[in-house]
Symmetry: C2
Subunit: 286 residues, 2 copies
């Protein structure tokens, strides 16, 4: 099968061609400008390639409720022109093929659940900590969603009393994303996160906050595995610190798998989103 | 149909006879002593009544994983004799009928989802704040569970700096249950919660904590409705206070229904658990 995948981000769209096994044969990058300009390029690329289905994982918030008249729309976003834009409809109008539509983090979570670190597990929680923080939860191949998709990155967590940073979130100041996403780390320290010594207490704060998010997710969802991806997680030492805090915080209240198998690093790295989108497109055809 | 229901609590078991519509025709109470003594009475009652199916909602933690060899067991509990007790198996051995087995709070949540305040909603979150705090989540008639059932009552929340109480939870001290369950309120104030003036700041703390739990649940699950039951919620003023804190904390980050329809009081009151268990038993037969 010849399948398309879109990973739509705030600065660029990655469009790929691949197969039903998640194998990518080629990909291009398109800058994220206005919806019309960007989407025309996306649509033309897939028209030329004559794919059989497309999987889309996009920045949000989006409407993922298939019963809604605005299913497939971007909802409110600060990105100029994209609020209330009919993302899926604009593609459907020009490309008469099945298109799967979900959040960027759901697509990456799906990739991880099927082919990455969550392979073989039924209940897979995927977190990304990068420019923002988000999560996708896959249960037996289906996404958890209610009236819309999760927005777990904005969980309210307990700030370490030694961490005097006020927080970066325009809605909640010191929620999880407001304290632990890349921009929050960099505003706090006045330099790039990669320049920060791994023994710096800021890493311990970040690990504390990520561990709290894992404790809450454990108590609410009871996943088989919690997978971390995203730029901030490139710090190799961070996973160990997260596990240490998690163990102290949960205090054995519920049984979880051994922590080295429970809280783990992403398996597919930067390919998780595109592979996930390909696999979701293939699912539309099956 | 003639159906049985069990609401198994730490001090008593309520056993009821009813029908597939959740209508109770009679019920008895059996003290919770040793598993053998209590369960013999439960089993004899249903043998005499010749019911077609039974729904059980029980204190936990329990094993709800149908693929597990210890499905239907109580797992670790401080209640003498009940740890690793084969609750479901002891009933199955004597009563050769379908038996539905879930947590007390799931059963009550199911009752609320089908016939109570959550009627007609797809994604129903039910919280109980009483001697302990627990939650059940029903999506299109199915319970959310991963490797086990949720234990949302132990979420880590932010303690109000004016609330100097250290917390009541033996595992986490000042988690949600540790700060906001009945025993925590009473230990904090040295008297019964019902004796506390409704303008006392302690109620504001409790509402703050319940609101935080609702914000987190909203961001993780995106429910259609959040229903509160349990003894503490008998305080009529509390729901309003919870909504006020919730609005401030979420700060319109995601869309939710109007708060008077989103965060609501239990519809079936003390009958939610038994009605839910009857409806779950009926589902086993359908």
């Amino acid at each position: 099968m010849k399948i398309g995948a879109v990973e739509a981000g705030g600065t660029k769209f990655v469009c790929a061609i691949g197969d039903e096994n998640g194998q990518v044969s080629e990909q291009i990058k398109i800058p994220t400008t206005s919806p019309k300009e960007t989407m025309n390029q996306v649509i033309n690329y897939f028209k030329e390639q004559q794919v059989e289905a497309i999987g889309v994982g996009t920045f949000g918030p989006i409407n993922v409720n298939k019963n809604s008249v605005t299913y497939g729309y971007v909802t409110k976003t600060p990105k100029p022109g994209w609020s209330n834009y009919d993302f899926l409809g604009s593609m459907k109008k020009e490309l008469n093929i099945p298109i799967s539509f979900t959040t960027d983090v759901n697509a990456a979570g799906y990739g991880e659940a099927v082919q990455g670190a969550g392979r073989g597990k039924e209940n897979v929680l995927y977190w990304t900590i990068g420019t923002g923080i988000g999560a996708g939860y896959v249960q037996n191949g289906e996404f958890l969603q209610g009236i819309s998709h999760p927005e777990m990155g904005h969980m309210l967590i307990r700030q370490n009393p030694n961490d005097i940073y006020e927080g970066h979130c325009p809605f909640h100041k010191n929620c999880f994303e407001g304290l632990a996403a890349g921009p929050a780390i960099e505003e706090r320290i006045g330099k790039k996160a990669v320049e920060l010594d791994q023994n710096d207490p800021v890493w311990d704060y970040i690990a504390d906050y990520a561990a709290q998010a894992c404790v809450t997710a454990t108590l609410v969802l009871r996943p088989d595995i919690i997978i971390f991806g995203g730029g901030v997680i490139h710090q190799e030492h961070l996973l160990k610190k997260i596990r240490k805090h998690f163990k102290e915080q949960l205090n054995d209240y519920v049984d979880v798998p051994p922590l080295e198998e429970y809280i783990v690093r992403i398996g597919l790295n930067d390919d998780a989103g595109i592979k996930g989108a390909l696999l979701l497109a293939a699912k539309e055809l099956s």
